[in-house]
Symmetry: C2
Subunit: 237 residues, 2 copies
């Protein structure tokens, strides 16, 4: 039987590359996307396009009312910071941090893994370009791995417990892009911006856009995704 994996898919660059990697390893993929009170539906549309592009057994889209909790610029009306320098981006947890987001996402992925009998969960965490989020660090991932071993039927009934796969953990944005391109990913379908226009164009100035644009620049490539303004031309390294 083809092994099954649950892949957390936001429709961004990292999760899309992660899905492509899972597919390339022969997994039948159950993609899992949350509608969690993002300020825009652009991410959801990107996730749908990516799932269709890379091929999944099923694309699960779950509503998740994080907006009711508040606490983040991504789920409230607070302003997304723009044009921050690398030093500013490195100086602590930004307002775009959603409390316990990866813990919540992985918990629901764990539930789905039990339901569809998948033994692997893929998440596109990168500790290199993680913007200071506590739940993008290797030690967080290791702790969730341990929890996953104890939290499910397999812990009581035997059988291989769920394994977390974070293939991007130690890759830079440029390295992630190179892996994805080698697997045929169309990054024009993906969206990473924290503050896109209604029609889906990226702002080019939020932390996520800056990281992404730098990644493409380091590859000597132009980002194929749409931006509000023409992004600066790529500079080779």
């Amino acid at each position: 039987m083809t092994p099954r994996a649950v892949v957390l898919l936001s429709g961004g660059l990292d999760s899309t590359t992660t899905l492509a990697l899972a597919r390339s390893q022969g997994f039948e993929v159950h993609a899992l996307t949350f509608r969690y009170g993002q300020r825009h539906q652009v991410e959801l549309e990107a996730a749908r396009a990516v799932a269709a592009h890379l091929g999944v057994a099923r694309h699960w889209i779950l509503p998740l009312e994080l907006r009711a909790l508040g606490g983040s610029a991504l789920t409230t009306e607070a302003e997304v910071p723009k044009g921050r320098s690398e030093a500013e981006r490195a100086a602590g947890i930004p307002v775009t941090y959603v409390p316990a987001r990866n813990t919540i996402f992985l918990s629901l992925a764990l539930a789905l893994a039990e339901v569809v009998d998948a033994r692997d969960i893929f998440i596109g965490i990168s500790a290199v370009d993680s913007s200071g989020y506590p739940d993008c660090r290797p030690e967080f991932l290791a702790a969730f791995q341990r929890l996953a071993h104890l939290a499910t039927r397999a812990a009581v009934e035997g059988g291989r417990p769920v394994t977390l796969q974070a293939p991007l953990l130690h890759l830079s944005k440029a390295q992630i892009i190179q892996r994805g391109l080698a697997l045929g990913v169309d990054y024009g379908l993906t969206r990473s911006c924290y503050d896109p226009t209604v029609s889906g164009a990226a702002c080019g100035a939020c932390d996520a856009c800056l990281l992404r644009l730098r990644g493409f620049a380091e590859c000597g490539l132009r980002d194929p995704a749409p931006y509000c303004q023409e992004p600066p031309p790529p500079q080779g390294q």
Copy 2:
């Protein structure tokens, strides 16, 4: 400042006692209840009544679409087993198990704790009468505790990380009831049944009812909650 705690509140006997214990320890309580596709709204109404009865700073009721995932008799149309013997109840994970439920609930409690600046999360897990659920075991709880230390702002920025409190972990149902009664809990407001009537009467025959009735019987008491049929008279120990 009065310390704040998030208390997971289902409206059942265990979570209600846990809330009373948190209150008795001087915590300002943010009660957290999920509307997760339970087959009945009875639990929600019980949670509301309990929150009003014991006094909370705020009662958060979050929608959570576990029904979309399926996988449990509590969120689907599958039949809830009735009249099982103690041996049958001890013989593995029942169909009422909701995949990864406590992991998901604790993750959202962790998010709420960050938002309201609570450093304690109370959960009414009991390993004694846990019906074989993997996520009611002490080792599960310890693993989540470790995760909680790594998953939040406090892990990066300093400050006391979130502590899990499971004051019922090693108590039997009868001991839980005794603690609650000593704190003035009105168990007539609580609902534990997996298959109640629309008007809120307990079936008296599912695993949850049998455990609860045995607990009251061991205390030499009659359960004040309403049942479809008159429950058997209490038998002293």
